[in-house]
Point group: C2
Chain length 265, copies 2
């Protein structure tokens, strides 16, 4: 399971403020906490209105001083993404392209030119997907584009099938789970990725719902998540769900996590 630490995100109040004020200490500390928590990648979103390119440069410098981990470049602005791609020291993951016309056109040259992984978000100009078949149709189109025009391998693609609040769309979590299962079976080597927190929007005890949903998705083949790596119970949920999904030979990871005290609640 690949864990992408989500916290370096300038669209969130605390980090946004740190970027505005040049508070390097908070950025560095937040990166180190995520490294400590077991992140595999650090997501960097420098989305300050009007100054995203310069913020990307500043934040990325701090992040890469603080850790050897690779970066997930998180932007909808092709200029900021371009800056990020120039500055990263290791092969990054671009987050994200989609089948929306503008995004597709602006990101395709960057993806074709750079050695990188890519998050493919299953939305198109027809709007958010509804139902399993709709998700799969967008997934097929996106994968064809990424492996064809952009020259990416399936192993470099992280498909995000879209998580919606269960409070608003009661069928959405199971549709997404079914879609994950189907694309993972159809495209061996492909990755699927999910943000954890949307599913529980508007409901109490959000961590319970987020982690339960993560377990359900892992059992359908999900192999990457964007989240706070220090979420209480995250390691335990992943270890248990991977073991039960026959993705932990001889229960090695589960038993190691137990010995490290990461399974107890």
């Amino acid at each position: 399971m690949l864990i992408v630490g989500e916290k370096i995100n300038a669209t969130r109040k605390r980090i946004g403020q740190a970027c505005q004020e040049g508070n390097a200490e908070l950025i560095v500390q937040t990166v180190k906490e995520q490294v400590q928590g077991g992140a595999d990648y650090i997501d960097v979103n420098a989305g300050l209105v009007g100054k995203e390119v310069q913020t990307m440069e500043w934040v990325l410098g701090l992040v890469q001083q603080s850790t050897e981990l690779p970066i997930m470049l998180d932007s909808s602005d092709p200029e900021a993404m371009k800056k990020g791609l120039e500055l990263v020291k290791k092969k990054p993951i671009v987050n994200s392209i989609s089948m929306e016309k503008d995004r597709l056109e602006s990101f395709t040259p960057l993806l074709a030119e750079h050695e990188c992984g890519v998050v493919g978000l299953c939305v198109s100009d027809a709007g958010m997907p509804s139902g399993v078949d709709d998700r799969l149709a967008t997934a097929d189109a996106l994968i064809e584009h990424l492996t064809g025009t952009c020259g990416k391998k399936l192993e470099e693609i992280y498909l995000d099938l879209g998580v919606f609040p269960v409070s608003a769309q009661p069928q959405a979590p199971m549709d997404m789970a079914a879609a994950v299962e189907k694309v993972m079976a159809k495209y061996p080597g492909l990755h699927t990725i999910a943000g954890l927190s949307n599913v529980s929007f508007g409901l109490p005890e959000r961590r319970l719902l987020n982690l339960t949903f993560l377990a359900l998705l892992i059992s359908r083949g999900l192999d990457a998540a964007i989240c706070d790596p220090n979420t209480v119970g995250l390691k335990a949920t992943i270890a248990a769900a991977e073991l039960l999904s026959n993705r932990d030979e001889f229960a090695m990871n589960y038993i190691t996590a137990h010995r490290e005290g990461k399974l107890s609640s």
Copy 2:
């Protein structure tokens, strides 16, 4: 979700001893704890070697004095089952019949004669099922027998597809999950039931594995479990998994459980 309280079981040391010694107080107290914990049925297993029939009569008397809840009669001995069927005040569930020749022959007349639900265990004389197709073949045969010869409705059948330790059979949990999903889709009205604790045999942090597996099974359609209703986290897992599986309209149960303080860990 139907919860069957598993604790009145004379093959377990503490209850077995109470049955031997005529310790009615412990039986009554154990029943009341399970009622308090939210059980929907009380499982009664009076399996003391050599005196199961008389133990069934004694225990059943105590249980039915202590609660109005219906009984799951749990025995492999047709005489003890017959005694139980005579004594229950409400429509019980018989636990269990299987496709093993001896069990099939001895239990079929009892099931055909009495108004009762039934747990159908998917084993045959060929041994424990392995793989999804093998489970489904046994399930088909059992359902045909129960709805045909025994005259049961699908709504009266609780299919147990067999939980095996993931430590010994790494593929078994996902095979069982897939089998649950398929039989629930194929036989509308049918129930599926699982004991929780086998899956984690031989591993640490068993509750974590048991509850994670329960969530995975609920998302495939499982609607009954045999367990200790007071297991910490059980209500939270069920509420979250049912909501995510679109089995909790307007999140009513989830929000009620939250208000009753049953979701916090």
